[in-house]
């Protein structure tokens, strides 16, 4: 290629070392792409001055209000070829499965219309096609869209979701994450593409309490697999495990690690589980993969309101549905409905730029649950209130109502 490359002494240092180097990749692209030549120049400049030089703006595709992250250079006079360097967010399939064929098609499209730089994946789970001029966005997106892929979320919208590998390759999986992911997300397509909510809203799906998708801390509605009957124990495999590892290992790594001390190693090297007190934490099952599995009566626990730092400090989600089945079409429909009620309630009651969890914090879990028509449940708390600062004149009516609800 013709365009002269910039000196990048600092970035060059990132080409050494055993980890694959993004700099080497960028240099490879720079051979054919002036945009990347200048991108490297600007990045080197950032390294030297320790500052970023992108600013936002507007860029989008026809029909959609979001999904493109526009980036304009503040130092385009120095690095004109990368003066526009937008990102297109594309939603992958649940579990991030690909054939080499489809990946190659992405490469071809992006080589043609963009910089050739693709992030797999963004922290919210998007395929990020990074580095596009304003002009090329539409063409790039059209081709990707024809491949069967759609735009991801950005701005005050329902965001691209993530689900763990789960059913596809994990024995711990307690529900069909892929189905849940698609059914839920594809019911909010309008809210993904036309940002009109108070702020972003994320769903995440993990097949069990190991929460490989970080859903409790990083999503507004987290769906995690669990079970409510007994752990399945294969006592023969327990014995094998004890034999292979020794009793001491089993005691130190399984028995004493149960958070509720629900496990006993019997004298005959079989395992006793106090299932009434098991909190489905997954630990013993994680360690003894052949001997133990989640129970058979499986379903999900749902938490609401997780998010990161701004503006009131990190928030984890809170249990709002201790257990629900997720097997029949009806069950899945109910899950979608729950998502919808939450979003609708929040859209109505949330302030601008207020995440669902911040709203719950502001109005109180009580009012949130009432808005959703969900009964309170002691599983939603670590413990009941420790202070008397509450107006209780409705106590008798409330108790009567609960009694009736239970009876009828």
């Amino acid at each position: 290629m013709s365009k002269k490359t910039h000196d990048t002494p600092m970035l060059d240092q990132l080409e050494s070392g055993p980890w694959p180097s993004f700099v080497t990749g960028l240099k490879r692209l720079a051979k054919d792409k002036e945009m990347v030549v200048d991108l490297l120049g600007q990045l080197e400049h950032s390294y030297k001055t320790r500052k970023g030089y992108w600013k936002g703006g507007t860029a989008s595709v026809i029909g959609y209000g979001g999904g493109v992250i526009p980036r304009f250079s503040e130092i385009a006079e120095k690095f004109p070829a990368s003066k526009e360097f937008h990102t297109i967010r594309i939603m992958p399939a649940p579990g991030m499965h690909y054939t080499s064929d489809i990946l190659r098609k992405f490469c071809d499209i992006w080589e043609k219309h963009g910089s050739g730089l693709i992030a797999l994946h963004g922290q919210s789970g998007d395929i990020m096609l990074q580095g596009c001029t304003t002009e090329n966005i539409q063409a790039a997106f059209d081709e990707v869209n024809e491949l069967g892929f759609d735009m991801g979320g950005a701005g005050p919208a329902v965001r691209t979701s993530m689900s763990c590998v789960g059913h596809a390759r994990c024995e711990h999986s307690c529900y069909d994450e892929g189905r849940a992911h698609r059914e839920v997300l594809n019911n909010f397509i309008d809210d993904i593409h036309r940002p009109a909510l108070p702020y972003k809203f994320k769903f995440k799906f993990s097949g069990c309490a190991n929460d490989c998708m970080n859903s409790i801390q990083r999503s507004d509605m987290a769906v995690l697999g669990t079970w409510r009957d007994d752990i399945q124990v294969n006592q023969a495999e327990v014995k094998n495990f004890v034999k292979a590892k020794g009793r001491e290992y089993v005691i130190n790594n399984v028995i004493t690690r149960c958070p509720t001390r629900a496990l006993t190693l019997r004298n005959d090297d079989t395992l006793d589980v106090d299932n009434r007190n098991c909190v489905k934490c997954m630990h013993c099952i994680n360690v003894m993969t052949r001997a133990l599995s989640p129970g058979k009566d499986r379903g999900v626990t749902i938490l609401a309101g997780g998010k990161r730092t701004l503006k009131i400090g990190d928030l984890m989600g809170t249990v709002i549905v201790p257990f629900m089945k997720l097997e029949s079409d009806d069950d899945f429909a109910k899950l979608v409905e729950l998502g919808r009620s939450i979003i609708e309630f929040w859209a109505e009651n949330g302030l601008e730029h207020e995440r669902c969890g911040e709203m719950i914090e502001r109005i109180g879990l009580n009012n949130f649950l009432e808005g959703l028509g969900i009964e309170v449940d002691p599983n939603m708390v670590n413990h009941p209130r420790t202070n008397p600062y509450v107006r209780m004149d409705g106590w008798d009516d409330e108790v009567a109502r609960l009694k009736q609800a239970k009876a009828g």
Partner: protein
């Protein structure tokens, strides 16, 4: 007649089965157990009797098409043409035949993709945008991650930690990288410098005022034009005002430092999920290799590796030995900045005589 613009096909999240390895597809929801024959390799067995071996390799996440095509070539030649990516941008190749594992590993290794990230290893660091793309970054995620993964390469390809280690980075205090066993995050240490000339043009002032968590911003007239004013005594330098109002320049080559946090945990395994806690700050934001940050991370990992019990995640280990001992073992100073003074801080204070001497 003018041509109609093409309207998008609002297809949403695509069907995963079409891209899924046939053995996975066939055994969907039927897996029985798994083991790890070696670092970077998982062996899953199905109730149907089917088996699958997964080989996991690290990538640089921000990949050029050349890298991706190389990975596709390997998939085609050694792994039936299917791959998947993990939440940490590792790539996974699935094969239904154990004999395919070795050649696959060799091919990946030859092309410079480290095999590992499984079990009790240090997996790939969660990656954010940084100077490469974000409009508000205090540092470069790609560079920090590359530098650290170079240093932690041995811990990626081996499984020698007490439990899995999940490291995250965030190039501003927003924390797109999330909670981690170790988190390496930008921490601004000076209030934003306001570019008053720009405020009037760019900012919706009320919305900036509303973003500040400590109500330190108020509208003001500066040189006869509407601008903003920051109460520098109140300001906690969080940078929340910067995205809605770029003239609130929070990023500073000198004063945007790196802070290191420890003990975040997302899993519900054993203990409940935990937030990470501040352990070190004031670390220079030093491209291109951030040696000071790397040194602290490595020190913490070394101590954890030596002292923690099997299956103890970083935060669980510290809870067992106590924070005083953590600071002692890592030789990090404990300062007044470690005391929480944000909302709910009281819950972090020791209201007991439980003390280790």
């Amino acid at each position: 007649m003018t041509t109609q613009p093409r309207m998008p096909i609002e297809s949403g999240t695509p069907d995963h089965f079409q891209y899924m390895h046939p053995t996975l597809r066939r055994n969907y929801g039927q897996w029985a157990w798994h083991e790890r024959p070696r670092p970077g390799v998982l062996h899953h067995v199905s109730h149907t009797g089917d088996q699958v071996w997964t080989v996991r390799a690290g990538t640089q996440r921000q990949m050029d098409v050349g890298t991706i095509r190389k990975l596709c070539d390997i998939a085609d030649q050694y792994a039936d043409g299917y791959v998947r990516f993990t939440i940490r941008s590792n790539i996974e190749f699935m094969v239904a035949d154990e004999k395919k594992v070795k050649p696959l590993i060799e091919a990946l290794t030859k092309e410079g993709f480290p095999i590992g990230g499984t079990g009790n290893s240090v997996s790939m660091i969660s990656h954010t945008q940084g100077w490469l793309h974000c409009d508000i970054p205090g540092t470069d995620a790609s560079g920090v991650v590359k530098s650290l993964m170079d240093e932690l390469h041995a811990e990626f390809i081996h499984e020698e930690m007490p439990n899995r280690v999940k490291i995250t980075t965030s190039c501003c205090q927003i924390n797109c990288g999330g909670q981690g066993d170790i988190a390496i995050n930008i921490q601004h240490t000076k209030p934003p410098k306001i570019n008053h000339d720009l405020v009037a043009n760019i900012c919706e002032r009320p919305s900036v005022v509303a973003r500040c968590p400590v109500a330190a911003i108020r509208p003001a007239m500066v040189n006869g034009r509407p601008s903003l004013e920051v109460d520098e005594k109140k300001c906690v330098c969080c940078g929340a005002c910067y995205p809605p109002c770029p003239p609130m320049q929070i990023n500073d080559p000198e004063h945007s430092k790196i802070a290191i946090w420890v003990g975040g945990k997302n899993a519900n395994a054993r203990s409940k999920p935990m937030f990470h806690k501040l352990v070190a700050a004031g670390i220079p934001n030093n491209p291109p290799r951030w040696p000071e940050a790397a040194a602290v991370v490595k020190k913490i990992l070394r101590v954890y590796k030596q002292d923690a019990h099997d299956w103890e995640r970083m935060g669980e280990w510290v809870e067992r030995i106590g924070w005083p001992r953590f600071f002692q073992l890592t030789e990090l100073p404990f300062t007044k900045y470690h005391l929480d003074n944000w909302r709910g801080a009281r819950a972090s204070l020791n209201a007991s005589t439980h003390i280790r001497f």
